[in-house]
């Protein structure tokens, strides 16, 4: 399944009309120990680049933006009790939310993994 990345360090994995969103390993390494995640409720409509979630670490609280527009179908309820999954499996079990894409062409503006890795290396 294709995976895309944003300059704000979110990843999105697309599976047909739906997609899963999380923050990258680089993002979690910069945040430090994650202690709380605020997730969007199902049914909420998100716009590309708009605020979708909040991730709070011992250092800071940061917004997580939606890589594309769509309607939230599910938040990762496991993160409520085990937010440290964001640190241990940021690009796997530590996903944030799933959404139904409203405009798949928005994916064209995102980076693939290789481009993102180059981007991170340039920071």
């Amino acid at each position: 399944m294709p995976r895309y990345f944003t300059k704000d360090h979110e990843w999105i994995e697309v599976d047909g009309e739906t997609a899963t969103v999380g923050i990258t390993n680089y993002a979690q390494s910069q945040l430090g120990d994650v202690v709380f995640v605020e997730l969007p409720e199902p049914g909420r409509s998100l716009s590309q680049g708009g605020e979708a979630a909040v991730v709070e670490s011992v250092k800071a609280a940061s917004d997580v933006y939606s890589p594309v527009s769509g309607e939230v179908t599910e938040g990762n309820a496991v993160l409520t009790d085990t937010p440290d999954l964001v640190n241990t499996a940021p690009e796997g079990e530590g996903w944030f939310f799933k959404l139904r894409l409203s405009d798949p062409s928005e994916l064209d503006a995102l980076m693939d993994e290789g481009t993102y890795m180059d981007f991170v290396a340039s920071l």
Binding site: F36, E38, E56, S57, A60, A61, D63
Partner: protein, 452 residues
């Protein structure tokens, strides 16, 4: 020696950077006629400390001091006895650490005290968690309304007619800038509260229902049904307590299902002080803690496993989250909270119950006595230490005449609700452990003369 860090060269460099030739250029926007061009007129020459003390003492003597005359004022500020030990203990060195305890290693005294304060407030209000205090009851009430908006994502708040009008006024001022939709009501001069009317008005746009307990007229309502009705519509119940001593006897709002309980803590350990500074109490259910405003202290262990106290959940606050903060009050009423906490500690649970029982017994005796006066009718059948009378004459001018006779008879509803004909004859009377039978007798006799 005065400490003036800037040299002439520093000032010139800064003026040059902003394109101004002189300091005066920075004030060109102030109209010429509004600028001071010499000494302030009518300002008397400097005086010695002794002269100033003499003059201010003479001015202070023109006040009628609460403790020197029969005193029945309440409505949000209560005269209680404060043990001398409270004032002594708040001055101890352990509490003189910086009141903004961002460096826990040098502020353990302050932090531990705030932690104890939070525990006391949470238990008193019947909630899981409390913050380290707000400015006062009215600002705490407003913060609860905005917190309910953040949680429910709805903007319509129903405010009970029994909520202190000054609290309503603060909320109105703030809502002008936030766009919150406040639905307010007037109290009625009768025995019943507006709980049932509020239940009928809750809808799915409602963020919260705000009720005062006991309310502005002293009435006490069971909030359980209101809590259930509020939750059924996905809204929150906010309860406001202006007399925390009442919770020594009454079931707490938290136990009755309130989601957020706020209050004014002045009655415990803090003097009347002409209306401030006071100490706002703020508590809520644990699931809402991240939306709670204000400073929060937590207990933890240090690297060696020793118990210590720190500020916690600071990431909610404005110095970290900027405009997205859930808390734009990153401070607290430290000294008043300390006095509250020390008084609560000295009282203990048993002492607080005892104090509440004395208050209630005195108030019942006073209500019975005053209701015997021709032209006086007791409006509130159930109350804690404050009740409302309906007089056969307008209360506000009568209170003024009694003040001239050195009796502070209570708060007239005409003062709280100017122009409201239906409330004009109402008088709210507060009675505490400081009220003597002689005080009550003096008020009864004076009322009898004035109403004859």
């Amino acid at each position: 020696m005065r400490y003036l860090p800037l040299t002439h060269a520093d000032r010139s460099a800064m003026l040059h950077a902003v394109g101004a030739a002189t300091i005066d250029d920075l004030f060109v926007d102030v109209p010429a006629e509004a600028r001071l061009d010499g000494p302030i007129r009518d300002l008397p020459p400097h005086a010695s400390e002794l002269q100033v003390e003499r003059q201010l003492s003479a001015l202070a003597r023109r006040n009628t001091v609460a403790g020197t005359v029969p005193f029945f004022l309440g409505c949000g500020s209560y005269r209680h006895h404060i043990p001398a030990s409270v004032d002594h203990l708040i001055q101890r060195g352990e509490f003189l650490t910086a009141y903004t305890p961002y460096q826990p290693e040098i502020a353990q005294g302050t932090l531990q005290m705030l932690f104890e304060f939070q525990t006391q407030v949470a238990r008193l209000l019947g909630c899981d968690v409390a913050n380290a205090s707000m400015y006062d009851g009215s600002t705490a009430c407003w913060e609860a309304i905005t917190m309910a908006r953040r949680i429910t994502r709805r903007g319509k708040a129903l405010l009970s007619g029994g909520l202190h009008p000054h609290y309503v006024s603060v909320a109105r001022t703030m809502a002008r800038f936030t766009g919150d939709d406040l639905h307010t009501a007037m109290p009625t001069l009768d025995a019943g509260t507006d709980v049932d009317a509020l239940i009928d008005r809750i809808d799915t746009d409602t963020s919260c229902v705000v009720v005062q307990y006991p309310d502005i007229l002293g009435r006490v309502a069971d909030l359980s049904a209101l809590a259930d009705a509020t939750h059924a519509k996905g809204a929150l119940l906010v309860a406001v307590v202006t007399e925390p001593v009442a919770l020594g006897l009454l079931k707490s709002p938290g136990e009755m299902g309130a989601d957020i309980v706020v209050g004014e803590g002045q009655a415990l350990g803090v003097g009347l002080q002409f209306g401030g500074p006071y100490v706002g109490l703020f508590a809520c259910k644990e699931k809402f803690v991240r939306q709670m405003p204000g400073r929060l202290c937590g207990e933890t262990v240090d690297a060696e496993g020793k118990r210590g106290f720190v500020l916690t959940l600071s990431t909610r606050e404005q110095h970290i989250r900027r405009e997205k903060a859930t808390s734009n009050i990153c401070t607290n009423s430290g000294l008043c909270a300390l006095a509250f906490s020390i008084h609560m500690t000295l009282l203990g649970e048993k002492g607080l119950r005892g104090l509440a029982e004395i208050n209630h017994a005195h108030a019942v005796a006073a209500a019975d006595r005053l209701a015997q006066v021709p032209g006086v009718e007791l409006v509130t059948p159930a109350f804690f230490n404050e009740f409302t009378l309906r007089l056969s004459a307008e209360a506000r001018p009568l209170v003024r005449r009694l003040a001239d006779r050195n009796i502070l008879a209570g708060v007239s509803l005409g003062r709280l609700y100017p122009g409201e004909e239906a409330l004009a004859n109402g008088l709210v009377v507060a009675v505490t452990e400081t009220t003597t039978p002689e005080d009550v007798e003096a008020l009864a006799a004076a009322l009898q003369e004035e109403l004859a």
